[in-house]
């Protein structure tokens, strides 16, 4: 039974919540606004109304070849995620449907690899990349990002697969389904939502990874994280340009993130909070 809510309380809640929400969102909003200003306007003092020029967007492309780091980000995020899924799906599948006594130990151990601070292996990974020619290559970084996120991918898939009831397979078998029929008509449709959520969350994590991507790239393989970080050097006050580059860098992930709120909670808490 829902409590009766007076319109007055509802108005109050709405006003307070919107003010706080807008304050939290303000830095992002202001970046978008600044990206539509001219460079002079950008440092001319506080103003929420830009002149709606797209010159900064054109400038980041023509002066900094923005498309290249953007494509690197896409390749690294999508590539490492798909690779991780290929490796993780069989493992998660086996652990969810044929658990043994050691399944739990293996899962906990995988989680523990995630606890290893990246900086602890900075020295060896850096030297390996340097000596094998992997430095500043998309290939090397894709493999590395895949390894970093593999434990989360296995875990997420495992928690989703575990929710598929085993009885449904027996029922299908009773109805005369073949092994392939079972996999194709029964299991795949049930597994797809879980796999899709995992894919989404992992692309977000890989896109925003900012330690290895900055450490192991210079120009060729540098994704947006490294590209934007290079703006911190005294390049001058090109804030409109910085804002345009930033807006483009966060827009795709922001939109993906809005669609994956629920999965985010589940994935990042390893299923501890649903």
């Amino acid at each position: 039974m829902a409590r009766a809510v007076t319109t007055q309380t509802k108005v109050g809640n709405t006003v307070v919540a919107w003010i706080i929400a807008l304050l939290i969102f303000f830095p992002i909003l202001y970046t978008i606004i600044t990206s539509l200003k001219t460079e002079q306007e950008a440092i001319a003092g506080f103003s929420l109304i830009p002149s709606f020029t797209f010159e900064s967007y054109q400038a980041v492309q023509s002066q900094n070849d923005y498309f290249k780091p953007f494509m690197n980000s896409v390749i690294l995020a999508v590539g490492s995620t798909i690779l991780a899924l290929i490796v993780a799906i069989p493992a998660a599948w086996a652990m969810a449907f044929n658990p043994t006594k050691r399944t739990k130990d293996i899962l906990m151990w995988m989680l523990s690899t995630k606890m290893m601070p990246a900086v602890a292996v900075l020295v060896p990974i850096y030297l390996i990349f340097l000596n094998t020619g992997l430095m500043d290559t998309r290939f090397g970084l894709t493999i590395l990002l895949m390894l970093i996120n593999l434990p989360i991918v296995v875990w997420m898939l495992y928690t989703y697969f575990r929710e598929i009831p085993g009885e449904i397979l027996e029922a299908a078998r009773m109805d005369g389904a073949t092994l392939w029929g079972e996999i194709w008509y029964v299991l795949t449709p049930m597994a797809v939502p879980g796999i899709a959520s995992t894919l989404l969350l992992n692309i977000i994590l890989a896109w925003n990874e900012s330690f290895w991507t900055i450490q192991l790239t210079t120009t060729n393989a540098a994704p947006l994280t490294a590209f934007i970080a290079s703006f911190s050097s005294p390049q001058g006050l090109f804030w409109a340009k910085l804002s345009a580059a930033s807006t483009l860098a966060i827009a795709p992930i922001l939109i993906m993130g809005w669609f994956s709120q629920k999965q985010l909670v589940r994935g990042l808490t390893f299923g501890a909070v649903k």
């Binding site: 919540a17 939290i24 202001y30 601070p117 900075l122 593999l150 330690f211 934007i228 985010l264 808490t269």
Partner: protein, 275 residues
């Protein structure tokens, strides 16, 4: 299973190499000098005054961000959970900072908000006739805490909100009818219900907060002096800027030990949920 083999290699090989290098004299600027160093690198790291400062900074950063995000997260989650118009949009606005990549988040704050000359904070200060603050020079660590807290507040809010939504409404109502006020309801019903989610938030954020790096790189670069250098950044300084492989590796081993202490607690909390 290939997943296990891959992770095993990923886990063991670099870590073994780190431990090995931590006992070597190895500087990239003077090749061919790789010799046994004993505990020298550890002693060197330990006696470096920057070491204790970086440990302290790491602690202040982690605890500071945790306090802001947990208290702020509880407050905002309880607010959003109430009936209102446009709840979906409010949720989207509140969680957005989490999806902003660290270098972008830090540069937005550094330039557009906290810049002493042209930032929004300076504009506000001037409006009230006050002297604008040069945030990164005067309060470097605090400024970084603010930026990182902005990034993680959405995460805490989202998880606490998820937990709040599973709270039994009828129980709440019964308590209210019995005359329990807002604070006693919060203290005896809401907070205990969220206890588990709060634990998870604290532990998971701690793992990520121990690894803060890009935010420092693009704002203060660890300075002034070592004022905003955390352990990660110190190791980066020693290994990459100082080319000292042995020293960086010794720092890495220390980082592993510290992270493991945190990890043990997290494993217990999450492990309970597996059964």
């Amino acid at each position: 299973m290939p997943a296990i083999v891959l992770l095993l290699i990923w886990m063991v090989v670099p870590l073994a190499m780190t431990i090995y290098f931590s006992f070597r004299n190895y500087n990239l600027l003077s090749p061919g000098q790789g010799s046994w160093a004993g505990w020298f690198n550890y002693v060197y790291f330990y006696t470096d005054p920057a070491f204790f400062q970086s440990i302290w900074n790491t602690l202040v950063l982690v605890v500071g961000v945790l306090i802001i995000t947990v208290i702020g997260g509880i407050a905002i989650a309880m607010l959003i959970d109430r009936p209102m118009w446009g709840q979906g949009i409010v949720r989207i606005l509140v969680i957005s900072p989490f999806f902003v990549m660290p270098p972008v988040a830090a540069l937005i704050w550094k330039n557009m908000l906290m810049h002493p000359g042209y930032g929004v904070f300076a504009d506000i200060a001037k409006f009230f006739g006050a002297q604008p603050v040069d945030w990164f020079a005067a309060y470097p660590l605090f400024s970084i805490i603010l930026i990182v807290a902005w990034q993680w507040l959405p995460f805490a809010t989202l998880i606490l909100l998820t937990s709040l939504q599973s709270l039994d409404g009828e129980q709440m109502e019964a308590a209210e009818m019995d005359g329990a006020g807002f604070w006693s309801r919060f203290w005896y019903l809401t907070l205990p219900h969220m206890a588990r989610a709060i634990t998870v938030v604290v532990l998971i954020q701690t793992i990520f907060l121990l690894a803060v790096y890009a935010e420092i790189l693009v704002t203060t670069n660890g300075g002034p002096g070592y004022a905003s250098t955390n352990l990660v950044f110190l190791i980066y300084r020693v290994a990459r800027l100082g080319f000292d492989v042995g020293g960086g590796a010794a720092g890495g081993v220390i980082a592993v030990v510290l992270a493991n202490i945190v990890a043990i607690f997290l494993m217990r909390a999450v492990g309970r949920n597996l059964d």
